[in-house]
């Protein structure tokens, strides 16, 4: 996982910085000076990182910060990671379709019922509390504008 993620990232930066350099060549000098001054060394360093990874895949270099826990490994970790991605993708889709207020209630209720396997009463009360907090702080107090979802638009609500 460690070397695979590193390789994907390194290769991604090679592609992005390469494309950035090619695009920048068409701009006037004032606009391209800085992107090229940064893009070229980044491209070279990314190439070095990819080659290092390919030639010495066993070499590890840990960053001095947060690390993913190793409590779940192999297939279980991959399955749970995909599940996390699915929750976030689902929440994003719900926000666009239903708008923030409904999507928040739906996420909290579904997450507690399906992922947390909590009962209906606990899930319902917790959902109500979270939604009330969201409504009070962000809507009533801060008056932040949250647009309605697409579904409300289709239904003419």
């Amino acid at each position: 996982m460690h070397s695979k993620a590193s390789l994907i990232l390194g290769a991604g930066i090679v592609l992005v910085s390469g494309a950035a350099i090619v695009i920048a060549l068409d701009w006037p000098l004032k606009a391209r000076l800085f992107p090229l001054a940064i893009g070229i060394p980044v491209f070279c360093m990314a190439m070095a990182e990819v080659l290092w990874g390919l030639l010495d895949p066993a070499a590890r270099s840990e960053a001095m910060e947060f690390r993913l826990s190793d409590e779940a490994q192999g297939g279980v970790a991959v399955r749970r990671t995909l599940l996390a991605v699915a929750w976030m993708a689902g929440f994003s889709a719900a926000i666009v379709l239903l708008g923030f207020p409904s999507a928040i209630a739906l996420l909290v209720l579904c997450y507690l019922r399906l992922q947390g396997r909590e009962g209906w009463i606990v899930s319902g009360i917790f959902t109500l509390v979270v939604w009330a907090l969201f409504y009070t702080v962000f809507d009533r107090l801060l008056h932040l504008p949250f647009p309605a979802g697409l579904v409300q638009g289709w239904l003419g609500l």
């Binding site: 996982m1 460690h2 993620a5 590193s6 390789l7 990232l9 390194g10 930066i13 992005v16 950035a20 695009i23 920048a24 701009w27 006037p28 606009a31 000076l33 800085f34 992107p35 001054a37 940064i38 893009g39 980044v42 360093m45 990314a46 990182e49 290092w52 070499a59 270099s61 840990e62 960053a63 001095m64 910060e65 947060f66 690390r67 993913l68 826990s69 409590e71 779940a72 970790a77 749970r80 990671t81 996390a84 991605v85 976030m88 994003s92 926000i95 923030f100 928040i104 996420l107 909290v108 997450y111 507690l112 992922q115 909590e118 979270v130 702080v137 962000f138 932040l144 504008p145 949250f146």
Partner: protein, 503 residues
């Protein structure tokens, strides 16, 4: 001078000014806690409300609010791994790691105590520096500001990972951050760079969704994968005792806290650098304070010094940033630019008048910073026990709440769905960086500094051609950057040869 100092205190303690300060503190407390809802935005939102206030009341309200935002922002960073404020992201690295080890109370205690020390140092600097700051600010032109930014990136890139490969990744991450910062309309020629005909990208990428994505998403995924609570199976223990331990840590590493406070104050004084830079430089300095390679390896895994450094710097910068704002009308940061607007709304003109005719008002600002931070830290300690217990709440109760905060925090940056997409994209980048063992701090610093570096480089070349490289302060800063890069390599080599000699 002493009379003006005392008069400033009495002005703040008048019941109306004090009440406005408390109101500001209450607002700043919640703004700091809520991710994505920035102190700068809130400062701008509150500006219209000061029309009817006197200058002292207006500044008590605005500064009371603004100077505590970073303090409570640290709480969100430590407990949930989400930056409560853009200026509190560095606290996540070790603060959240401590929370996961069951030391949330200690991390919070350290963050709060160092924040208080930082705020006091910043306020003291403001009080002392007003008469002597002019030559310092005038000595720093674009070449020097450019070099300070380079030293900052070199600091973080070389210190945030181990060995030569770690350093390569650090510089690569920093370079990537600088590259991402070039997205949007270029400031010199007006060319839309890497915008792909999208209006959303014209003004560049907003820092808040990028920060939330890169720091919060990997943590959330990990929490879901792990199951359980943030602190895992670690015993919660007596959390208020942990907080006391954090306070003691601040005094155990008192000189580090003071040095990081001074770094924050200095960065605050320099126009255009801002708090997001100060915290990372202070973190870099905290890492550099480790005497051995083994000690350094503890950073990022929950070393309390990684909390003390940024905690102190992101609060001391306020006092520092006020110095050029009050003395020359040159705002040190975007929040100070808004505060400058407050000066004019209240009928004051920054400059010599603030140091003579209105000296008591200037000192009332110093006292507002001091009092609001003391009140906030005391209030936080009263609720600390309950706050720290959030880390032992079961994960499936926390994940949806954190997800809601993450999505709202990103969306409210510009009220645009593009920010949510941006947050998710950088969430993937952040996850790959964490999974691959890449440091995220250099990327963020590169992103924060990108525009500053480009502007100052362009001005330096346009104004001095290549002669700017021979300016004395530039040469000193260049030597410092080289030393910062070489120091960890020399230290690692020494450590290797010492262990070889022992074997």
């Amino acid at each position: 001078m002493i009379d003006a100092l005392l008069e400033g205190l009495l002005l703040v303690l008048q019941w109306k000014a004090f009440a406005f300060m408390l109101l500001g503190i209450a607002l700043g407390f919640w703004v700091g806690l809520l991710p994505g809802l920035g102190g700068v935005t809130t400062l701008a939102l509150m500006l219209p409300f000061i029309y009817a206030m006197s200058p002292v009341e207006g500044f008590a309200f605005l500064l009371g609010m603004h100077s505590v935002v970073a303090t409570t922002g640290d709480i969100t960073s430590v407990l949930f791994g989400i930056p409560g404020e853009g200026t509190t992201a560095a606290t996540i690295l070790d603060g959240h790691a401590m929370a996961k080890k069951g030391q949330a109370g200690r991390a919070l205690g350290a963050a709060l105590a160092s924040s208080l020390v930082g705020a006091l140092v910043g306020a003291l600097a403001l009080a002392l520096a007003i008469p002597v700051v002019r030559p310092l600010v005038l000595a720093f032109g674009s070449p020097e500001l450019f070099m300070i930014a380079i030293v900052g990136i070199a600091f973080i890139a070389s210190l945030s990972a181990q060995g030569a490969r770690g350093m390569l990744r650090g510089f690569l991450a920093g370079g990537l951050g600088l590259m991402v910062a070039t997205i949007g309309q270029d400031p010199q020629a007006g060319v839309a760079r890497y915008t792909f005909d999208s209006l959303y990208l014209w003004s560049g990428l907003d820092l808040v969704p990028v920060l939330i994505g890169i720091f919060a998403i990997p943590e959330i995924v990990d929490l879901i994968v792990r199951g359980g609570s943030i602190a895992g199976e670690m015993p919660g223990g007596r959390l208020n005792q942990g907080a006391l331990e954090g306070v003691k840590d601040t005094f155990r590493h008192f000189w580090l806290t003071i040095r990081c406070s001074l770094i924050g104050t200095f960065i605050g004084i320099m126009p255009g650098l801002g708090g997001a830079v100060a915290q990372w430089l202070a973190y870099g300095h905290a890492v550099q304070s480790a005497r051995t390679v083994e000690e350094r390896e503890g950073f990022g895994k929950g070393d309390v010094r990684g909390v003390l450094g940024p905690g102190a710097a992101n609060n001391s910068k306020e006092g520092g940033a006020l110095i050029p704002t009050v003395a020359f009308g040159v705002p040190g940061s975007s929040s100070m630019a808004i505060l400058l607007g407050g000066f004019f709304l209240l009928g004051l003109v920054p400059g010599p008048d603030m140091l003579t005719t209105h000296l008591a008002v200037t000192f009332s600002m110093v006292w507002t910073i001091v009092l609001s931070n003391v009140i906030t830290v005391v209030a936080c300690f009263l609720f600390l026990n309950h706050l720290a217990r959030l880390t032992v709440v079961r994960g499936h109760f926390l994940v949806p709440v954190i997800l809601v905060l993450v999505f709202i925090g990103s969306y409210t940056a510009n009220n645009h769905y593009g920010d949510v997409v941006l947050m998710l994209f950088f969430g993937v980048v952040g996850y790959l960086m964490v999974a691959g063992g890449w440091p995220r701090a250099p990327f963020v610093l590169g992103l924060v500094l990108g525009k500053i570096v480009e502007n100052n480089l362009y001005i330096s070349v346009a104004r001095y051609e290549f002669a700017w490289l021979t300016r004395p302060i530039v040469l000193v800063l260049l030597a410092l950057a080289v030393a910062v890069i070489l120091y960890p390599l020399i230290q690692a080599r020494r450590s290797r040869s010492r262990s070889n000699a022992h074997a």
